[in-house]
Amino acid sequence: MSNGFFNELNEKKISRRKFIKWSGAVSAPVVLGGIATTGNMVKKAGAELAAKKADELVLTTCSTVNCGGRCLIKAHINNGVVTRLTTDTKADTFELPQLRACIRGRGYRQFVYNPDRLKYPMKRVGKRGEGKFERISWEEAIDYIAKELTRITEKYGPASRYSNYASGHSGSIIGAGNMIQRLFGLTGGYLGFHNSYSSAQTTNATPFTYGTTQTGSTLDNLSHSKMIILWGHNPVETRFGVTDFYVRKAKENGVKIVVIDPRQSDTAVALADEWIPIAPTTDAAMMDAMTHVIITENLYDKSFVDQYCVGFDENHMPDGVPEGESLKSYILGEKDGVPKTPEWAEKITRVPASTIRRLAREYATNKPSALMQGWGPQRQAYGEQFVRGGTVLAAITGNVGVKGGWASGAGYISLVKTTAVPKGDNPVGLTIPCFLWTDAIVRGTEMDAKDGVKGLAEEQDTLPVNMKAMFNLAGNTLINQHSDCNKTAEILSDESLLELIVVSEIFMTPSAKFADILLPSNTFMERWDVGTTWAPSQQAILSQKCIENMYESKSDYEWMTMLAKKLGVEQKFTEGRDELAWIKWSIEESRKTDPNFPTFEEFKKEGIYQVSLEGNSVVAFEQQIKDPKNNKFETPSGKIEIFSKALWDMNDHEEIPAIPKYISSWEGPEDPLTEKYPLQLIGWHYKRRCHSTFDNNKWLEEAGPQVMWMNERDAATRNIKDGDRVKIFNDRGEVHMPVKMTNRVIPGTIAIPQGAWWSPDKDGVDQRGNVNTLTSQRPSPLAKGNPQHTNLVEVARV
């Protein structure tokens, strides 16, 4: 047949396909004069759009949900509707790589145009948590909030007001959490929080070694390493910036990559030369054993330890500490009689002693090497020990401050600094660890410094008042992402405890169901912001408003401005600026410290400010190592503190040791509770969700269904088959969900991807698969952080 014939067919096909595409794009509800329509507008819009392809507007934006990637998104807009998304297409180089969107970024249209979006403000009519609401106007909602807030403040004082930790649609420089605190600050103050649910333990523990959390180097370093150990680090799914890209580049350079993880993560599959499965909560035991090998085989960097570290052996100890407390003494078992040998660790970690020995030798003798810690293993009962154990391994092998090495620990680094709208002062001046907010509701007036309360005045032992007014904005930590959903629900349902719960949300999430007043939030595509990635970060992206607010939704700043007016502080709150004006202000502020930061107009044109690693490569602590006389570590001793006197002085040597130690964990593999609940449970970050965000995105559910991973051996002994719906339970709750039988998880451990929306049936059994139905509210000792990978459970067929 002739070409002409085929061409004709092809043309026909394309025109048809185009129509299909656009009609599909607008078949999501579209706001027309404030009313959502899906029906007759579709065809009209489809026809118009087809004709207007040439007028397509392409705007760069960046999701400011709490995603590690914060990639570059280009929204293709036709007649005010986003019809397609593309991502970074600039030249792709090692120093300036493309910031390609991952699966989540590619699915944003199903987020923005999801028909389930909250459409108008609502007020609770049923019992709290029941999810029964009636529609109200914005004015009614703001009136109610202002009235209740004033009443509660007058009755209990400003310290009873709290804005919950929320990372969902938190924004970046004009985020909901920050802005409500600014408003609280202007009206008497509030109870603040410190820490995060992501990295509480590493941000608290890392500084005891290095004096700072800024222990990350730029990722080009990885290509100079001889070996990379990704310990509980799964950047492929968590999206730490473009870490996966740079690990790939390192692999191409012949760098050996080892992943240590209870799961054979996607990172392990694609990037690792070796995957070492380990029992959850036992990482510190393996680290101790590696240290044992390195010490006993004389593989440590003697001059480095001598010159830069405190506490390695008895000759390098601070004053005022009794004998036998150094790292070496502990590792060799001089005091407790237990040498921390690989054989000792094998029993605990399930990692063969020979593997531990080999890895220790490889790491210590192939210098430089990078031991990168993920944040997962620090979210365990004694996660602080994992964090400090990693830093100590890096230190004694002399992998700190050298190109190709890695200091381990928190790993923060940012080449681009943005300026957030200031929170202003908090006259109350108190903060709690964010994980302990439920405690502050029930027993706030008993909470003291031992509970991690900060800012207590000298004559003040505890919080002055229990928490009474809760603002849970742009996040799902009110129940879903907090530990122990059943316990949390019980606390929230008691209307005598919290007297006001305000929630702003995009969807009817589990948290939204507990609102007294529920406000419909817009999405990042409907507001202005500037996005930056998780560490290590080398860029800022202008998150542009692409479309008008859908339905009656507003940005958090928009409704808070209404509330500020009602409370009589509008001028102080806004300083006369709307959202866009604040963005412009922020950009100008950033330009004051970084002259290369683009102007607003430049930013709008390019969409992104990305710093090339060429000439900007950073090695953490390089100066401290090169020129120690003039560059001290920011620790009390000015050195790397393997032994921390500050920790020693806390005088809780069992749970807060001064050197990193393996502490056998409650609900770990050695807990007698294993007789009742023999399986360990972890909840990993799933590629298809950003925490709980996108759980209701149907494209992403198809790509990554909510399933529990279980080893074939564990399944066989319980007569469970792949795809079966099973019950997972412990004393805190019960979950029913399908099982994926896979050997990609170590025997004895099951894994539920965290973030599924808690969906209790009438008996309180979660039917969706929220891991937090089973997690504990018991905090870690030092950071008071969340231990959510520390759980014992049993599994059975439903």
């Binding site: 067919l9 699966i103 249209r109 494209w699």
Partner: protein, 190 residues
């Protein structure tokens, strides 16, 4: 123009499915319709010795769309002639004016490329984003891969650059349809 084909660097495929969803976004495909798909292949077991576990778990991912085959069995079996391979670049397309929606091509394709659209009552599939290519852009999947593991181009060029492999573990034998596909196999897929 020469026959087009895909190159998949299977060794670096993380199974993230960005390509799958980028493709859905571009084509507005509902749940159940996936012009590109990612398959997980996992085998192996553990040796348990006292407390220790030694793993021998071999996993890899494969991203596959339509391979616009040399001998497309979908075209051969199609009763209407709706499924056709166009001459200029060998892209296999569906003419919806002819398609009767019998789904026979689903049973004939080794790679799962034909994807039935219930709403249209027609078969749909990867069209290589020929509209984007003609506008100077990459196909949606190619530009989406965070690992840069998908490329496209004239198949002879891809073969010259990356070799002739289109048979890896888990994939149907390439002799069936002669796919225009080049793969760098994951170490576990060889």
């Amino acid at each position: 123009m020469a026959q087009l084909g895909f190159y998949i660097n299977n060794d670096y495929c993380t199974g993230c499915k960005a390509c799958v969803v980028a493709c859905k976004d571009k084509n507005d495909n509902e749940v159940g319709v996936n012009f590109r798909r990612v398959y997980e292949h996992s085998e192996g077991d553990y040796v348990e010795r006292d407390h220790a576990v030694i793993q021998n778990i071999q996993t890899f991912f494969t991203s596959i769309s339509c391979n616009h085959c040399e001998n497309p069995k979908c075209v051969e079996g199609c009763p209407t002639g709706a499924m056709y391979k166009r001459e200029e670049d060998g892209v296999v397309l569906v003419d919806h004016d002819k398609c009767v929606g019998c789904k026979y091509c689903v049973w004939n394709c080794p790679y799962g490329a034909p994807q039935y659209n219930e709403v249209l009552g027609k078969m749909t599939k990867c069209d290589f984003c020929i509209d984007l290519i003609s506008a100077g852009e990459n196909p949606a999947c190619v530009g989406s891969c965070p690992m840069r593991a998908i490329e496209y181009g004239p198949i002879e060029e891809l073969r010259a650059k990356y070799g002739n492999v289109s048979d890896i573990k888990g994939l149907p034998n390439s002799s069936i349809t002669k796919p225009n596909l080049v793969i760098t196999a994951h170490r576990n897929a060889k």
